[in-house]
């Protein structure tokens, strides 16, 4: 069985993001970029399944400009067997991403397609679900435990009420939650090995995917800042202040 893993290049979770003064977007100048943390968990799970003998090959796929080869190389260094970059300068929205993943899935015929539950830049949490629907295969979202036996996967999901365990037929889509695993550190010699692993570049246009971005982004704005607080030195002063503001 092959496992496809979607990995997205996003601004690192440690970076303080800032809206550009003209509101045209988020300022990423000089910001560290990384694999979306949930996708890293997805890749770790795929690697563990391969190491447990449940899968034969792990393929990482990313959609974006050449810069995202950096994240694909990291994925290869973690242990993926090969990588696919779907080359485009455009920022695709979830539906277009799902259509692109579908095209890759049809080409590669994987038993599992694992993606993060959401990307930490846009926080949409839509791609996995859309991919399952387009592909017409089962989905198990927000996974915190995955077991594969033959043609089925048993997946524990994090749901509002707690945990839910479901069984799905493969091929299927799984989206990962934070508690699924702790991704491994990359070993230095593996970075060198990754340089020699295959990385295929496919122009988005070659996949015949309709890029129907349906949402138009008009404007970015930072959350409203909180007003500066004041220090009061007694309970009476607090009461007076609250009264002055009509809160008491």
């Amino acid at each position: 069985m092959k496992i496809l893993v979607g990995i997205k290049r996003v601004v690192d979770y440690n970076v303080r993001v800032r809206v550009k003064p003209d509101g045209s977007g988020v300022d990423l100048d000089g910001a560290k970029m990384s694999i979306n943390p949930f996708d890293e968990i997805a890749l770790e799970e795929a690697l563990r399944l391969r190491e447990a003998g449940k899968a034969a090959e792990v393929i990482v796929v990313s959609i974006g400009p050449n810069a995202c080869q950096q994240q694909l190389r990291t994925g290869l260094a973690m242990g993926a067997d090969r990588a696919i970059q779907v080359d485009t300068e455009e920022r695709l929205q979830p539906l277009a991403v799902a259509r692109t993943f579908l095209a890759i899935a049809e080409k590669e015929q994987p038993g599992l397609f694992i993606v993060g539950k959401q990307a930490i830049d846009d926080d949409n949490s839509q791609t996995g679900q859309m991919l399952a629907a387009l592909w017409n295969r089962p989905q198990a979202t927000f996974a915190s435990e995955v077991q594969v036996e033959g043609d089925t996967a048993t997946v524990t999901r994090e749901v509002d009420a707690g945990l839910e365990t479901i069984e799905i037929d493969l091929p299927a889509v799984i989206t990962t939650d934070l508690r699924l695993n702790e991704p491994r550190f990359v070993k230095l010699p593996d970075i060198m090995k990754a340089k020699r692993k295959p990385l295929e570049v496919i122009p988005l246009s070659d996949l015949g995917v309709a890029n129907d971005n349906t949402l138009e982004i008009e404007h970015f704005a930072p959350p409203a800042t909180r007003e500066k607080g004041i220090m009061v030195d007694s309970a009476e002063a607090l009461v007076t202040e609250l009264k002055n503001r009509g809160l008491l």
Binding site: D12, N14, V15, R16, R18, P21, D29, G30, A31, K32, E182, P183, R184, F185, V186, K187, L188, P189, I191, M192
Partner: protein, 536 residues
């Protein structure tokens, strides 16, 4: 313990600053067959570089001809120089000293410049490994340096191995180049082990704090460079500021304090903020916002403090050796030239023998010799220092004497022996409010569950001796508020203890330098942790 995995290279370079990158690029230009790698503790190249920086471009012309058509981001020519003497509320223009004449120089973000150099090195075949700290030195049986040991990952605070544990590998090479920058932690061990500083004065340092601002449109005059001395320093504390105007309404502002200050109550970070809130300075920043902030020690000893830079199997280059020109506050051109010289020397002498002499015969050393007496002249205070600086400049450094340098930690006076001057510092208006607020802009991240990377040899000294003698100056000189003296609770209630907030550390190395008992040892935390500066 198991044998560590080993990777072999012809040359391993420790630290991807201007010195290490220039050296690696030159090595490959001279011999593309030679295998070269660079180890860098920051998660990305340039993310832990903090500099001014106005740079002299000649070494770049030399190393990367054509760079002027492919400039690093945030790089612009200097158009205007100003030098001010600040009072508490006003300022006086001083004639620009010749060392500060920046005609023909460029303002850069050194972090961005290193990030721009790295792919050029990779194109030549250099393997660059960001996110990995060189945590130890590998010695061969004959005692010579044989490479470095990469830090382990996934060790818990109590020293046990976590499930993510990964043993660091060793990188072996016939030649190891240490370009760790100012107060490199492995360089420090080497200087001690090989007694490299036995014939020179102690090294001396300063601490530089810096912020990059997005200012209101119209406030920045791209290409303008301004330096100042005076407020808020007293005459016995050496220090000064820089303000570099960039494009796109950005301004870099910073302040450097000599770490030979005597006052145990002095707070370098606060001095920077006081300067920034000077009535003539703060107008530039009102209504703006901070993009990035941090701190880094700067090496000041120069000519008379330069240790021997070669030892069996290894060389020291750049600020790790101490080639910075203090009166100019410029070290980048010197670091790059030193890196290139090392590469060229290795071309002829693969074992590095004779590098130290080649360095001392080079223009790098001639530049240091000329200005050698200027910085130590300020030991006698600002005014005598300025007169001495004038004399040394007019005579071109030909005075028949060389003034001595003293270790910075010995300059700190005991509380009872020192009357702190009346500072009259003001209530500040511009952000950040305090050091913790400032750390936020350095995007510093350390895995919390790892051993503390600030090793204090004997914390009893902190509580029983230092509190009385110096009043725990670590709580004041650390720009990131890492050190705190807190009340004990539980069984030990009523007592006090040193709390080390290691996760805030911005890797400036000031504590390792200035601690009066020399019991703080900075070691590398897990690779990839520490500040993530954006364009500093």
């Amino acid at each position: 313990m198991s044998e560590r995995e080993v990777m072999e290279y012809d040359v391993v370079v420790v630290g991807a600053g201007p010195a290490g990158l220039a050296c690696a690029i030159r090595l490959k230009q001279l011999d593309s067959e030679r295998s070269v790698c660079i180890i860098e503790k920051a998660s990305e190249i340039g993310a832990q570089i903090l500099s001014g920086a106005v740079i002299e471009p000649q070494p770049l012309d030399d190393l990367l001809p054509g760079w002027r058509d492919n400039m690093p981001p945030h790089c612009i020519p200097v158009t205007e120089d100003a030098f001010l003497m600040l009072g508490k509320t006003g300022s006086k223009k001083l004639p620009t000293p010749p060392q500060s004449n920046n005609h023909g120089n460029f303002i850069v973000s050194l972090g961005a410049m290193c990030a721009w150099m790295a792919p050029q090195a990779e194109d030549l075949g250099v393997d660059i490994f960001p996110g990995y700290a060189a945590a130890g030195i590998h010695y061969r049986q004959d005692g010579s340096v044989g490479g470095v040991i990469i830090g382990d990952m996934g060790i818990a605070a109590d020293g046990s191995q976590k499930s993510s544990y990964m043993e660091g590998i060793e990188i072996h090479a016939p030649m190891t180049i240490f370009s760790e920058g100012c107060r490199g932690h492995l360089s420090k061990q080497l200087i001690k082990k090989f007694d490299l500083d036995k014939d020179c004065d102690p090294q001396t340092y300063g601490i530089g704090t810096k912020e990059l601002w997005q200012v209101k449109p119209g406030k920045s005059q791209p290409g303008r460079v301004q330096h100042s001395i005076g407020w808020p320093m007293d005459s016995h504390t050496y220090g000064g500021s820089f303000i570099y105007h960039l494009e796109n309404d950005r301004i870099a502002i910073g302040f450097v304090t000599g770490l030979d200050y005597p006052d145990p109550n002095f707070q370098p970070w606060e001095a920077f903020q006081q300067f920034k809130n000077h009535p003539e300075i703060k107008t530039l920043f009102e209504g703006g916002e901070i993009l990035s902030a941090g701190a880094r020690a700067i090496v000041e000893g120069g000519y008379q403090s330069l240790p021997k830079t070669e030892m069996p199997g290894a060389l020291l280059i750049g600020d790790g050796a101490g080639t910075l020109n203090v009166p100019k506050i410029k070290g980048v051109h010197q670091a790059m030239r030193g890196g290139m010289l090392a590469a060229e020397h290795l071309g002829q002498h693969a074992d590095g023998k004779g590098y130290d002499k080649a360095l001392r015969d080079s223009p790098i050393m001639a530049e240091l010799k000329k200005v050698r007496n200027i910085r130590p002249g300020f030991h006698k205070g600002l005014w005598l220092g300025l007169i001495n600086a004038g004399w040394e400049t007019i005579t071109g450094g030909y005075s028949p004497w060389t003034l001595k340098n003293h270790a910075d930690h010995t300059a700190l006076k005991r509380l009872e022996d020192y009357q702190s001057p009346e500072r009259n510092w003001i209530d500040r208006e511009l952000p950040p409010r305090d050091r913790l607020a400032s750390v936020y802009f350095s995007t510093t991240a350390h895995e919390e569950d790892q051993p503390v990377h600030l090793q204090v040899a004997d914390t009893d000294i902190c509580i029983n001796q230092c509190t009385v003698e110096y009043g725990n100056p670590c709580t004041r000189f650390c720009p990131a508020h890492v050190y705190e003296i807190v009340e004990e609770d539980g069984e030990m209630e009523g007592g006090k203890r040193l709390q080390i907030n290691a996760a805030n550390c911005v890797h400036c190395k000031t504590c390792d330098i200035k601690d009066p008992y020399q019991i703080i040892n900075w070691v590398t935390p897990e690779g990839g942790s520490g500040p993530n500066y954006q364009n500093l």
